[in-house]
């Protein structure tokens, strides 16, 4: 069975996580490392996809910075989005040649991971045709934006666990006018680290790989 290293990075700056992704993706392309799943949380940040529209940013960069929100143009797919505390962000660095050479199949699988995981928390989530992401009725609970180079993936998904949704006011998320939601807004009180663990397990199942813990999470008694 293939294995996938799980790296739980806690709260990490967008730029730093981006550098780490690039480094890991480069190492993955060279076959120096195996598949990786980065799970983390960002401080407030608005990011713009390569083909995104700046007009979907509804606030000036000054207003953003006054609100403590940084701004990054990136190379992922998708339009504009917001990340912040209470949102579980996942960056899988996978070589799709070892799974399926299918980029759309990959996005559908990521959706499946999140749908299955939400089901475990009693939330009935699903897809809306042509609108990539995970939806609960007409509201988006998880966004997806992926970059692929030589079949190696980077960027990934962002799931609102107990995100302060008011920050989405600064943007038109993914250029869509449909509202966003979070697990908390849907009545599910869950701890980000629990959701993270649950997500990792579903990820392993959907991608048919064994999840290995790279950075130990729980520390224990002192010695």
């Amino acid at each position: 069975m293939r294995s996938c290293q799980l790296r739980e990075l806690g709260r990490i700056d967008y730029g730093k996580a981006f550098e780490l992704q690039q480094q890991l993706a480069a190492e993955r392309k060279q076959g120096l490392i195996g598949d990786q799943l980065l799970l983390l949380e960002h401080p407030h940040v608005v990011t713009l996809g390569r083909n995104g529209h700046r007009e979907h940013l509804l606030a000036s960069e000054e207003i953003l910075s006054r609100a403590g929100v940084s701004f990054y143009p990136t190379d992922r797919g998708g339009d504009i989005t917001y990340h912040g505390p209470g949102q579980l962000v996942g960056y899988p660095i996978l070589d799709l040649r070892e799974w399926k050479r299918d980029v759309v199949g990959y996005v559908r699988a990521i959706e499946q991971v999140i749908i299955d995981m939400l089901g475990e928390y009693g939330i009935a989530a699903g897809r809306i045709p042509k609108l990539t992401g995970v939806w609960v009725e007409e509201r988006k609970v998880a966004a997806i934006g992926v970059h692929i180079s030589r079949w190696v993936t980077s960027h990934g998904f962002a799931l609102n666990v107990n995100t302060d949704l008011s920050y989405f006011q600064y943007i038109v998320p993914c250029g869509l006018t449909k509202p966003v939601t979070s697990m908390a807004q849907l009545g599910c009180v869950a701890d980000l680290s629990d959701v993270s663990r649950s997500l990792a397990q579903h990820f392993g199942r959907v991608f048919d790989c064994e999840m290995l813990l790279e950075t130990p999470v729980l520390a224990g008694p002192g010695e």
Binding site: Y106, T132, I144, R197, T215, G222
Partner: protein, 442 residues
């Protein structure tokens, strides 16, 4: 001339949107260098060039969606096969190619170990080199080599293993801005010159000038941050109290001594004191379930499973993998779990669920020579047992001095839930199990 087509990026995908050209018409492109980007369903994919040469024609503009296998561009290879390659570079070539590429033209995406820039006409996507041996083909594939970069020295210009090795040594060397000259000498150079060091000098933090910096700043690792957070959180959460009992381990020590060699021979891992201590703790936990509980709000949560976390020291931190249903295991089973979890913890191969769900923890600080310590509770548990080093000690028994194997056993407990009397009864039970050990080991 090589046609560049819209690739199929998945079985259900019939078209793609070309979102960006990463090269302009007339620009030179290496084989496998990212040439354009396509977008399908929130996925942006960089498509590498199928050949080296000059991007001569762009047939699909940015923003257009076309079916798979549609020709989107053409690449001018710039040569006419082996015959042309052998001749001087001045052969009729399109004007765009006569201008030799300046040395710094390598796009940023490419690695620094790129081969030296060469006059364009010499670069061919599919050189007519004659058949390649399977070994050479494998080397080409594994090293991502553009065959157009290599002059074959075998019969009829065939590329040999030595040619590839020479090329790789050359490629690893720093880029020298000498244009085509290096190339002509390459095969000779690879024989006569000693191989160039492949790896760049290791990156070492520069030493501060003598007599200057008195501190060095280093960000904490993720694990360190998490340990720090967890420890402070625990101290803030629980009312820590530690009680320490002296335990006579003589019987267990003798048992262990007797079975050590056979145990190692039979099972392949050594027999330590830890499974005995764990077993004793399990017996005591069964008798005092409140020590196996946790607090949630104003409720006491009693755990029906006894899942024991074992603290494992790592190079720069620690982790507490969990032995599930530890009450269902004997000394052998416990030792096996401990050896397995500790080995995988050090190899960083624990699965997430293996560090979750602990209901009580044990730390074996005795293995580092500590006699007495006061461990921190592993939240949300309410107690942790620590075992000090087992040492031969003179003790008074019935008014006579005897030599016994003594260990100090600590229990740190959460006084919110557990009172001193109960904590001491708990440790006394574990002590009794260890002192009057009656279970089989092998």
């Amino acid at each position: 001339m090589t046609d560049v087509v819209m690739p199929q990026m998945g079985e259900s995908i019939v078209e793609g949107t070309l979102t960006k050209w990463l090269k302009k018409p007339g620009e030179h492109v290496e084989r496998d260098e990212p040439l354009f980007e396509i977008s399908t369903d929130k996925v942006d994919t960089e498509i590498p060039s199928p050949a080296a040469g000059t991007l001569s024609e762009v047939l699909v503009e940015e923003g257009k969606t076309v079916g798979i296998n549609t020709i989107v561009a053409r690449i001018e290879d710039g040569g006419n096969g082996a015959g042309a390659r052998a001749k001087p570079a001045q052969q009729a070539a399109p004007p765009a190619q006569q201008r030799p590429a300046p040395p710094q033209q390598a796009p940023p995406a490419q690695e620094a170990i790129q081969p030296p820039p060469v006059a364009a006409p010499l670069e061919e996507a599919v050189p007519a080199t004659g058949p390649l041996s399977p070994l050479v083909r494998k080397m080409v594939r594994e090293n991502n080599i553009d065959l157009g970069q290599i002059t074959g020295t075998g019969s009829g210009g065939r590329i040999t293993k030595q040619d590839i090795e020479g090329y790789l040594a050359q490629r690893a060397a720093p880029v020298r801005p000498t244009g085509g000259k290096i190339r002509d000498e390459r095969s000779a150079a690879s024989v006569t010159e000693p191989p160039v060091a492949k790896a760049p000098a290791p990156v070492v933090a520069p030493l501060p000038p003598a007599g200057q910096a008195k501190t060095r700043i280093e960000p904490m690792s993720t694990m360190r941050l998490k340990i720090a957070e967890h420890m402070v959180m625990s101290k803030r959460t629980s009312a820590h109290v530690t009680t320490i009992h002296k335990v006579d381990m003589t019987k267990v020590a003798k048992l262990r001594e007797r079975h050590k060699a056979a145990f190692q021979a039979q099972y392949g891992f050594s027999l330590t004191f830890l499974p005995f201590v764990t077993r004793a703790a399990v017996v005591a936990l069964r008798q005092f379930p409140i020590v196996n509980a946790s607090i949630e709000g104003n409720n006491i949560i009693y755990h029906n499973e006894i899942n024991i976390g074992i603290a494992v020291a790592l190079e720069n931190g620690l982790i507490v993998p969990v032995i599930r249903n530890a009450d269902e295991k004997n000394v052998l089973g416990l030792q096996r779990s401990i050896a397995d979890l500790a080995a995988r913890a050090r190899a960083r191969q624990l699965k997430p669920e293996e560090v979750q769900g602990g209901t009580f923890s044990i730390t074996n600080f005795g293995s580092f020579g500590s006699v007495i310590a006061t461990p921190v509770i592993n939240q949300p548990q309410v107690a942790i047992l620590g075992a000090g080093m087992v040492e031969k000690t003179p003790v008074v028994i019935d008014d006579a001095i005897a030599i016994r194997s003594i260990s100090y056993v600590s229990l740190t407990f959460d006084h919110r839930l557990i009172d001193g009397a109960l904590a001491d009864k708990f440790v006394a039970k574990a002590k009794q199990v260890l002192e009057d050990w009656s279970e089989d080991v092998l």
